[in-house]
C-alpha cells in the first residue's frame, strides 16, 4: 500500500501552516532573551531601565515575575525557567524582553544591563570527570562476572572512545504562542512533541491547575527529539508574558539562539575492556560510559540507560559490567535525539567488535556474525545482558539477505584490487547490523488515547495523542482509522493534537508513535464499528457479524448487490440514539523494568536492520565520498510503505551526518562556535550516494508481537544503519597501512580521517 503524506499538497504549495504562522491576534507580543556571556556566573543585578524605555517595549521578565514554581525540569526539578541567581551555561536567558514585535524586543534586549560574577566552568566530559561533577548516582547494568571473565579470557583489549554530539537542526526552530481566553484559560499553540508535558509545565510555572491550560500542536517543522522536553521552556516563557501583560505573546527562536540555548544529542565518552577467544567470540566487556548531560538533568537518565542497554547491539556477550554516569557541565542541557542514547551505546559496541577483529587479524564481517544473538542454542545465546530475550530474532536471516543483495563479497574483492592499484585513494566497504528496542524505557509512558467523532453526514474527526513532526504519524493514523471504520481517508479529518481532546498523553518519541496511538485509534474505531454494525444489520436485514464496512460502503457478506452509504448507517444510528463518539485506549503489554537493578523486560520488541556502505577516501585530504549504500530494514507489515521508506532513508542520512560532517565546537569560555548552518554542516543532497538502495525486509512470518496490523516502529532504528559508514571509513583508512587497530574519531570529519590515515601509515612504517 503506497500512500502519500497527508499534508504533502500543503507542503509543496506553502499552504501548510506552522506554529508561528497563524494569523496573529491583535496585540500579539514578541519575546527575545537576554543571554549570559558566561558559562557559569553569579547574577549580581539586572538593570532593565534602558530597555523598558524603548518605544514598543512592554516589559522585561525576570525570575521574580514567575507566579508559580520557577522550574521546567521534566524529571528532576533542577531547571529554573529564568535563573534568579546562577547562570549555568553560555547563552542562558537571564531575562526576556517583551515588545510589540521581534525586532524591538531584540534591540531592547541588548540594552538590558546584567552584572555578573564569573565562576569557573566545566566545559566537557574530561573536565567534569576530573572535578567529579555528576548528576545523580551511577547507573549499573550487569550480568555474570565481567572482570573474572576478562581476566580468564585468552585475549584482552582496552580502549577509549569519545563520541560527539549532534544538533537537531529541525528546519523550524522552537516556536510557541499563548493567549489567555475570555474564561481565563491559557491556550498554548506550540511546536512540541509532548503537548501534555508542555501543558503541565506551563501550569506549574503559572501556579494554576492543569485544567486551566490547553496545549495544541498543529504540526512541527521537524522534531527529532529536540522538541520532546525542550519546547517547554519557550511555551512557558510565552505563557508568562501573556499572563503578566494580558496580551497574546509569541516566540520563535532565531536559528543561532536556538542552537545556543537548546540541548543536543549527548556527547559520550567510553572506557572499555573486553575479553575474547581465538575466534573473536566475546567473553566479557567491562565499560564505563559517561554522558555529557549539560547543566540540568532533563532526559539524561533514560538516555544514558538506553545507551547502556544498546552497547550489545546484535551481539551476545556472556559477562557484562556497565557503569554509567551523567556529567554535569556548564553547557546547554542535552536531550532526546532520535535513537535516545542507543546510537552512542551501539557505536561503542561496534568499536569493540572491530578492535577484536583487527587484534586477531580476522575479517570484521566474520567476527560480527560469530557474535550474533542466536535463538535455540545451548547454552542460551539469545538473552540480553538486562534479562530480556531477543524476541522475534531476525538478525542472521536479514544479514544474509543483505550480503547477497548488496553483492558484498564480490565488491569487497574488487575494492581490494582497486586499493592495490591506488596509493592515495582507498575504498572501504562494511556491513553493520541494527537491533533496537522499541518501547519507552519508562514503563508508564507506554500508553495512549484516541477520540473519534462521527458526524451525522458520515464524516469523521480523528483525534489522537501523537504529534506530527513530518514522520507521517497522521498519515498512518488515517490508514488505521479508514481500515477499521471502512471509510475513505477523504472522509476523515485528523485534528490538531490537543490536550483537551486526548489528555495525559506521552511524548511522540521512542519510535512508538504509531504503535501506541495506532492501537488507541483502532480501539476507538472498533467501538464505533461495534455500535454501527447492528444498525447496519437491521437496515440490510442480516446479522451484525455479517456486516462489512469498506471504502465508505456497507453491505452483508456475500450480498454486495445491496449496499448502503456509511452516512446512511450513521444517520440511522443517530436516529436510534446511538453514541457516535468513542475514546480508545492502549497500554503496551508485558513490560517491566527495575531501574535500580538495570534488569527487566523494557522493550515490547526489537526492530532489526542492516546496512552496507562503500566509501572512497582521499589520502591527500581525508575527504571521503559515499559511493553506494544498501539498506535492509524490518518494518513488519508496513502501514504506509512510502512513509516507512522515508523514515529509513532520512534516518540513515541523519546518522551519517552525526558520524561525518556534523561537528559541534565550543570556545574556551563555553560559547557554541557552530551555531549556524554556515558553521554546523548537516548533509546536503551531494552527500547522499547516487546508488542508494533501500529495501523493506520481507519476512517469512509476521512479527510474533501484536503491534498495530503487524507493523513495527521505524522512527529511530534506521539512524543507526549509518554506523556502516563509520566502519567503511575505517576499512578504507586501514588500507593506507597495516594496523592491528584503527582509531577513528567520531565524527569522522576530513581532518579526523586525515589524522587516522597518518596514524595507520606511521604504524605501517
Amino acid at each position: 500500500m503506497s500512500r502519500l503524506h497527508e499534508s504533502a499538497v500543503g507542503h509543496v504549495s506553502g499552504r501548510a501552516i506552522y506554529t508561528d504562522e497563524q494569523h496573529p491576534p491583535v496585540g500579539m507580543l514578541s519575546l527575545h532573551p537576554v543571554q549570559s556571556p558566561h558559562a557559569h556566573a553569579r547574577i549580581l543585578g539586572i538593570d532593565a531601565a534602558a530597555a523598558r524605555a524603548i518605544d514598543g517595549v512592554v516589559g522585561v521578565l525576570t525570575a521574580t515575575d514567575i507566579p508559580g514554581e520557577n522550574d521546567t525540569g521534566p524529571i528532576i526539578h533542577d531547571e529554573p525557567l529564568i535563573p534568579a541567581e546562577l547562570v549555568q551555561f553560555h547563552g542562558q536567558a537571564v531575562a526576556w524582553v517583551v515588545a510589540r514585535d521581534a525586532a524591538t524586543a531584540a534591540a531592547a534586549a541588548r540594552l538590558v544591563h546584567v552584572e555578573y560574577q564569573a565562576l569557573p566552568a566545566l566545559l566537557d566530559i574530561p573536565q567534569a570527570i576530573a572535578a567529579g561533577s555528576y548528576h545523580l548516582p551511577p547507573a549499573r547494568v550487569a550480568r555474570g562476572d565481567a572482570s573474572a571473565a576478562i581476566a580468564a579470557a585468552r585475549h584482552r583489549i582496552e580502549g577509549e572512545l569519545a563520541v560527539g554530539g549532534q544538533d537537531h537542526f529541525y528546519l523550524e526552530t522552537q516556536a510557541s504562542w499563548v493567549s489567555i481566553d475570555a474564561e481565563g484559560s491559557v491556550q498554548i499553540t506550540s511546536s512540541t512533541q509532548h503537548p501534555t508535558e508542555t501543558q503541565i509545565i506551563v501550569a506549574r510555572v503559572l501556579g494554576i491547575p492543569a485544567h486551566r491550560v490547553v496545549c495544541r500542536c498543529l504540526r512541527m517543522g521537524g522534531g527529532f527529539g529536540g522538541k520532546e522536553t525542550q519546547a517547554n521552556p519557550y511555551a512557558a516563557v510565552a505563557a508568562l508574558a501573556a499572563w503578566k501583560f494580558g496580551r497574546p505573546a509569541r516566540i520563535k527562536l532565531p536559528r543561532a539562539i536556538d542552537m545556543q540555548m537548546t540541548g543536543k544529542r549527548h556527547p559520550f565518552f567510553a572506557r572499555y575492556q573486553a575479553g575474547f577467544d581465538d575466534n573473536g567470540v566475546l567473553q566479557a566487556i567491562d565499560l564505563d560510559l559517561y554522558a555529557d548531560g549539560g547543566w540540568s538533568v532533563d532526559l539524561s537518565p533514560p538516555v544514558l540507560m538506553r545507551a547502556m542497554v544498546h552497547v550489545d547491539n546484535a551481539y551476545f556477550i556472556p559477562h557484562v559490567a556497565i557503569r554509567g554516569l551523567i556529567c554535569k557541565t556548564h553547557l546547554a542541557s542535552n536531550t532526546a535525539f532520535r535513537g535516545f542514547g542507543g546510537p552512542q551505546g551501539m557505536i561503542v559496541g561496534e568499536e569493540i567488535i572491530d578492535r577484536v577483529a583487527r587484534h586477531l587479524g580476522l575479517d570484521p564481517v566474520l567476527v560480527r556474525e560469530r557474535n550474533f544473538y542466536r535463538p535455540g542454542q545451548n547454552p542460551d545465546r539469545n538473552q540480553t545482558h538486562y534479562g530480556q530475550p531477543v524476541v522475534d530474532n531476525q538478525i542472521e536471516r536479514l544479514w544474509q539477505q543483505l550480503l547477497e543483495r548488496s553483492d558484498f563479497h564480490a565488491r569487497r574483492e574488487d575494492i581490494r584490487t582497486f586499493n592495490r592499484a591506488h596509493d592515495q585513494c582507498k575504498r572501504g566497504i562494511a556491513i553493520t547490523p541494527v537491533k533496537f528496542g522499541i518501547s519507552f524505557n519508562k514503563t508508564e509512558y507506554n500508553q495512549a488515547g484516541a477520540l473519534v467523532h462521527v458526524y451525522t453526514d458520515g464524516s469523521v474527526q480523528l483525534n489522537h495523542g501523537g504529534t506530527e513532526m513530518g514522520q507521517g504519524l497522521h498519515t498512518k493514523m488515517l490508514a488505521v482509522a479508514s481500515r477499521v471504520l471502512g471509510v475513505t481517508e477523504r472522509s476523515i479529518r485528523v485534528m490538531a493534537t490537543s490536550t483537551d481532546k486526548v489528555p495525559n498523553t506521552s511524548a511522540t518519541a521512542a519510535s512508538s508513535g504509531s504503535d501506541l496511538n495506532g492501537q488507541a485509534v483502532k480501539a476507538a474505531c472498533d467501538t464505533l464499528r461495534g455500535r454501527l454494525a447492528p444498525v447496519a444489520a437491521q437496515l440490510l436485514g442480516g446479522q451484525a457479524e455479517e456486516v462489512i464496512f469498506a471504502e465508505g460502503r456497507v453491505w452483508l457478506a456475500g450480498r454486495d448487490d445491496h449496499t448502503l452509504n456509511f452516512a446512511e448507517v450513521v444517520a440511522a444510528a443517530y436516529r436510534s440514539r446511538i453514541s457516535l463518539s468513542a475514546t480508545g485506549y492502549y497500554r503496551t503489554p508485558g513490560l517491566s523494568w527495575d531501574p535500580a537493578l538495570g534488569q527487566g523486560h523494557p522493550f515490547y520488541y526489537f526492530a532489526y536492520g542492516a546496512a552496507v556502505s562503500e566509501v572512497e577516501v582521499c589520502g591527500y585530504t581525508g575527504v571521503h565520498s559515499l559511493r553506494r549504500v544498501d539498506l535492509l530494514h524490518d518494518v513488519g507489515d508496513s502501514l504506509v510503505e512510502a512513509i516507512d521508506r522515508g523514515q529509513i532513508e532520512g534516518g540513515f542520512v541523519q546518522g551519517m551526518g552525526w558520524l561525518t560532517c556534523e561537528e559541534l565546537r565550543w570556545s574556551n569560555s563555553g560559547r557554541l562556535l557552530t551555531d549556524a548552518p554556515s558553521t554546523y554542516k548537516i548533509p546536503t543532497i551531494d552527500d547522499v550516494p547516487l546508488q542508494f538502495n533501500v529495501d523493506l525486509y520481507r519476512r517469512a512470518d509476521p512479527p510474533s508481537t501484536e503491534v498495530i496490523f503487524h507493523s513495527k516502529g521505524v522512527g529511530e532504528p534506521p539512524l543507526m544503519l549509518a554506523l556502516s559508514v563509520r566502519e567503511a571509513l575505517r576499512e578504507a583508512v586501514a588500507a593506507f597501512g597495516r594496523a592491528d587497530r584503527v582509531d577513528l574519531a567520531a565524527p569522522s570529519t576530513p581532518e579526523a580521517i586525515f589524522m587516522a590515515i597518518d596514524r595507520v601509515r606511521a604504524h605501517a612504517g
Binding site: 504533502a8 509543496v12 522515508g646 532513508e649 532520512g650 542520512v653 546536503t684 542508494f692
Partner: protein, 457 residues
Amino acid sequence: MTNSPVFKLNFADVALDDAVPTESLLRWLNRRGMSGTKEGCADGDCGACTVALIERDGDGRAHFRACNSCLLPVGALPGREVITVEALADGAALHPVQTALVDCSGSQCGYCTPGFVMSLFAGYYGSELNDLTTEGNLCRCTGYRPIREATRQLTLIEPPRDRFHDLLAAPCVPLVSASVGNFHNPVAIEDALQLKQTHPDASWIAGATDLGVSLSHGQRVAPAFVALDRIASLREIEVTADHIRIGACAPLSELEEHLAGLVPALDQMLPWFAARQVRNRATFGGNLGSASPIGDLLPILLALDACIECRNLGGMRMIEAADFFLDYRKTARAEDELITAVVLPRRSGRMTAAYKVAKRQTDDISIVAAVFALECDDDQRVCHARLAYGGVAAIPMRAREVEGFLLGRKLDTDTIEQTSQRLRAAFQPLSDHRASAEYRSALCASLFERFVAEHTP
C-alpha cells in the same frame, strides 16, 4: 529616478513606498502574512526561503534565478519580478514541480519544501535539473533520495507553455534606476560613482550574499547603499585571444555558463563556491570587496596573475592581484573606488588546478583552498610557479618563498618532498572551529602533492 518604487510579486505590482530598504524580502513577505516562504536560518545557508527572481543575462534573455530571500534587501527590488511558492499552483492544480515532489514523497515535515519547490522551479525553466539545483536547500527529514527522484522525473517533462513561460518570453523591459530611501540602484557606472561622491559613507552592495547576512541579522552596515546589480556594463564578460575580462558584477552562475572550459581553475572552484542560490547573486566584485581570507575565488586571481580594474570619478586603474590584499579585509582599493572588472590573462602551456577542502564538500567555507599554476621549460625545469592559498593567513596569499625555490628545478621526488616541507612551514594558520592549524599546514603541502600527481606524468 522614479519616485514610487514598485516591484512585481507573483504577477502583481506592489508598492515599496514605506519599506525599510535593508529589510530582507523574506521578513517583508512574512510580515505581510505570506508565510509560504520559510525562515530556516536567515543566513543564506538553508534555502528554505528560496524565491525565483527574474534576471536577464547579457543578450537580454530572461531566466528564473533561485535566490535566498533572506539575503535580498527589499531596497534592491524596484522594477524587479519575484515569484514565490504561493504563485505556483493554479487553484487546486499543482505545478509540475509540486506534483513531482508529492508523487515522490519529497516532503516530510514540509518546512524546507517551499524552498526546494522554488529551486526546482527555477531549474525546471532553466534546464538545470540535477543535484546542483537543490544543493543549497537543506532537508533534515527525507535524506534527499526522493527529492533527487523528483528532480529526475522533471527532466522527462517539458515545461508547459504556461504563464511562467509567457513571463520569460515577454519583451524585455530594462531596469531603470530607482531608490528606496537611502538604498540607491543606479544603472550606469558614472551614476554609481556620482552617488558615492554624494554619499561618501554609502556602501557598495553587489549581490548582497555577504552584506545581506549582516543586514538579515539587523546589523547596521552603512547609512546608505549604492547597489551595483543592475549596471549592465558591470555584468559583461569578454573573451579575447589573450585575456578574459569579467565584469565585477556578473553573477557567478553566469560565469559557470559562459566561461565553461576556458579556465580550469574556475571550472573546478565555482561548483564549490557556496550553492546555486548564492552563485546566482554573488560576484567577483563582491568577493574582492569583502576580501575575506577564505574567499574562494581570490586564490584563483593570485595564481593566474589577474588584474583588478578599479574606477573612481578620477579615472580607471589596474591593480595586480598580488598587490591587492593588504591585511585582514583591507585592500588596495580606495574608499571611493569601485571594482569594475577582473582581467585574467590567457596563457597556454601552464598546468593549473584549484582545490578546496571543507568539512562538507558542498556549500561550505574552506578549511584550505589552493590554486596552483606551474609551467616547465623544454628542459622540464620549472620556469613559472604560483602557489596560492586561502584560509591559511589573514589574507589570501601566495607561498612566494616556495615559488622561488621551485624555479629552475625539475619536479622530481626530491623537489616535491622539499617543496612539501617548505609548504608545511610556509604559513602560520589559525586553529578554529573548522580545523586545526596542524591540518591546515599539512593540507598546504598535500594539496600540492596531489596537484603534481594529477598533472605530471
